[in-house]
């Protein structure tokens, strides 16, 4: 089964489809009811209301990028932190943080506001292009750590933890990450002599703030709405998409009907692609369960008599390695369920584990050879992969250090959800 799965995946068959195909062959050859490959997929997807948050967050992010909302944020960030050492790099970090309060995906950050700021950094050779791209990749990581977050929604699905608690758990780590990146960039700017941006005229400031204000208001509505009871996290995704539409269409007048339809079409395609992976995971998990794989994994760890700290260390290393070759949704949906029972048995808090694992998987987005953020930045900004990778090591080191900190200081992820009374 696994051999078959690996073989057909290497031949380039999409993951979701490969999981379904391999499961069909497995069910057939082991004399089980092949219709389970329909039953599990359908019941799995139809019963998962939360899964809907994912396409809606994608939808919202696509609208923001199409509707020039990203541009306004950029002007705002430039006025705010352009004067710091490594000005545009700081802007890059700040826009990622703001954008992350509205979008749940690192890819939409890199492809939207990230592309614009990378171009700005590369203009007139102000920054080495590899550095500009690597900066964008590293800061895009914050997108799914700060709420909302698509991977956290997936994690909540498979671990039965609360989406609200997970979202809150990501807030402190995300802010901390931005702070650390900011300081690192400031130091690097001094060493490498990166430029500082010209001050924005004081008279312009109110205009810039005013123009960005409706966009800045979005995270407030989103998180305020969730935590004040106006809507559930899933509904929040729909509301944020609506807000983005209204903003783009009426406040900024940058979204016509035909471009709106294009955004929807693109969103539907992405949705189908992402959801098919989820569907594949449902039937694949059935096969894995009936073959008692999670029990075997659990027994293996129990046999090793690992302490939680050692278990977490191994898990982190494994995930970093997997992140080099696999897609986030695959790791999340296929690999993570194997470890959740073991972690729970060790008394590891599953919300904290979720934050750690999501952070880990986001690092996987920029680790070669399969680092999807690198691919996107290469495609959008035309920066050679080799240059991107060379400049990425510095940021990777920071991210891994942050991951270690998160792993061994659970309070960083748990303090806020606890303070909010959610755990």
């Amino acid at each position: 089964m696994l051999v078959l799965m690996v073989t057909i995946t290497i031949t380039g068959l999409p993951f979701g489809i490969a999981m379904i195909v391999a499961s069909i062959f497995y069910l057939f050859l082991s004399g089980q009811d092949v219709s389970l490959a329909a039953e599990n997929v359908l019941n799995g997807i139809f019963g998962n209301f939360v899964a809907l948050a994912v396409p809606l967050f994608i939808f919202a992010a696509n609208i923001m990028n199409a509707g020039k909302i990203s541009d306004r944020l950029l002007d705002f960030a430039l006025a705010l932190v352009g004067r710091l050492p490594g000005g545009l790099a700081q802007v890059n970090i700040l826009t990622s943080l703001i954008f992350s309060g509205m979008s749940g995906s690192a890819i939409s950050d890199a492809a939207g506001v990230g592309k614009i700021i990378t171009d700005m950094m590369m203009r007139e050779n102000r920054y080495p292009r590899g550095f500009a791209g690597a900066m964008t990749a590293a800061s895009a990581v914050v997108g799914p750590i700060f709420p909302p977050s698509i991977p956290m929604v997936f994690y909540a699905l498979i671990s039965s933890t609360s989406v609200g608690a997970l979202f809150l758990g990501g807030v402190v780590p995300a802010l901390l990450l931005c702070l650390v990146l900011g300081i690192a960039v400031a130091i690097m700017a001094k060493v490498r002599g990166f430029p500082i941006e010209a001050p924005v005229a004081l008279a312009m400031l109110p205009v810039i703030v005013l123009r960005a204000l409706p966009a800045l208001f979005m995270p407030v509505i989103l998180l305020g709405g969730i935590y004040s009871g106006a809507f559930t996290p899933t509904e929040a995704a729909a509301v944020s998409a609506l807000y983005a539409i209204l903003l783009a269409a009426f406040a900024y007048r940058a979204l016509g009907l035909s471009s709106f339809i294009d955004v929807v079409r693109e969103t539907v395609e992405t949705t189908a692609v992402v959801t098919i992976v989820l569907c594949g995971a449902f039937i694949f998990n059935y096969v894995v369960t009936i073959e008692q794989v999670p029990q075997t994994v659990s027994a293996l760890f129990q046999q090793l008599q690992l302490q939680p700290w050692a278990f977490l260390l191994l898990l982190n290393i494994l995930y970093l390695l997997l992140g080099c070759i696999l897609d986030v949704s695959t790791i999340m949906l296929v690999v993570t369920p194997l470890f959740i029972p073991t972690a729970a048995a060790m008394g590891i808090d599953l919300v904290y584990l979720g934050v750690v694992l999501v952070f880990n998987m986001m690092i996987g987005l920029i680790t070669p050879p399969y680092g999807i953020l690198l691919f996107i930045i290469k495609a959008l900004n035309g920066i050679p992969l080799a240059e991107l990778i060379r400049e990425s090591w510095f940021f990777l080191a920071i991210l891994v250090a942050m991951l270690t900190l998160l792993t061994y200081v659970p309070a960083l992820s748990l303090w806020l959800p606890r303070a909010a009374g959610m755990l």
Binding site: G12, A18, A37, A238, V264, I276
Partner: protein, 172 residues
């Protein structure tokens, strides 16, 4: 019917038909997604603004959603656009890629062809069930999956034919 063939009247018409079919498929996908989205907004509005929660919205949203997903996966997303493991695929020669693609397409077609009768059996079984709120027979709700399997297999079959044709390089 291949690209290299001189465009006769019937080939032109066929191409036109193909484009139109793709456009219609796109529109259906867009409509399904938007109806799920609208359902959500109606749900929030009625509960939060009017304090009169609607009972049917959640189910309506879910049905639109799974139809949008399976419909698009079958008819609007090209196979190459799905998330796949490209690390090996990207570094091998075009000829090897062609072989790879043929293998994977054959696997898909065989598996999905096998699944069709079983899915049919399951849907027949589910015909007795009705959805919880709207009371729609579940075979209709779940029918989109059969559509997906058949549609995707046909897409795979079409790609397979092309892989053996002169324009196979467009397909890898």
């Amino acid at each position: 019917m291949t690209k290299g063939a001189p465009s006769s009247g019937s080939a032109g018409a066929l191409a036109w038909l193909g484009t139109m079919a793709k456009r219609v498929a796109d529109w259906i996908g867009v409509a399904l997604f938007l109806s799920a989205f609208m359902g959500f907004l109606v749900q929030v509005f009625y509960r939060y603004v009017l304090n009169a929660p609607l009972l049917w919205t959640q189910e309506f949203v879910m049905i639109s959603f799974i139809w949008a997903v399976f419909w698009s996966a079958a008819f609007t997303v090209p196979i190459r656009k799905h998330v796949s493991f490209d690390v090996v695929y990207d570094i091998v020669s075009p000829e090897t890629r062609r072989v790879f693609s043929v293998i994977s397409m054959v696997a898909v077609i065989a598996a999905f062809a096998l699944l069709v009768p079983y899915t049919w059996d399951y849907l027949t079984f589910m015909a007795r069930r009705k959805s919880a709120v709207l009371r729609i027979p579940m075979d209709l709700v779940y029918g989109c999956y059969l559509l997906f399997i058949a549609g995707f297999a046909i897409q795979g079959f079409w790609r397979l034919i092309q892989l053996f044709g002169p324009s196979w390089r467009d397909q890898i």
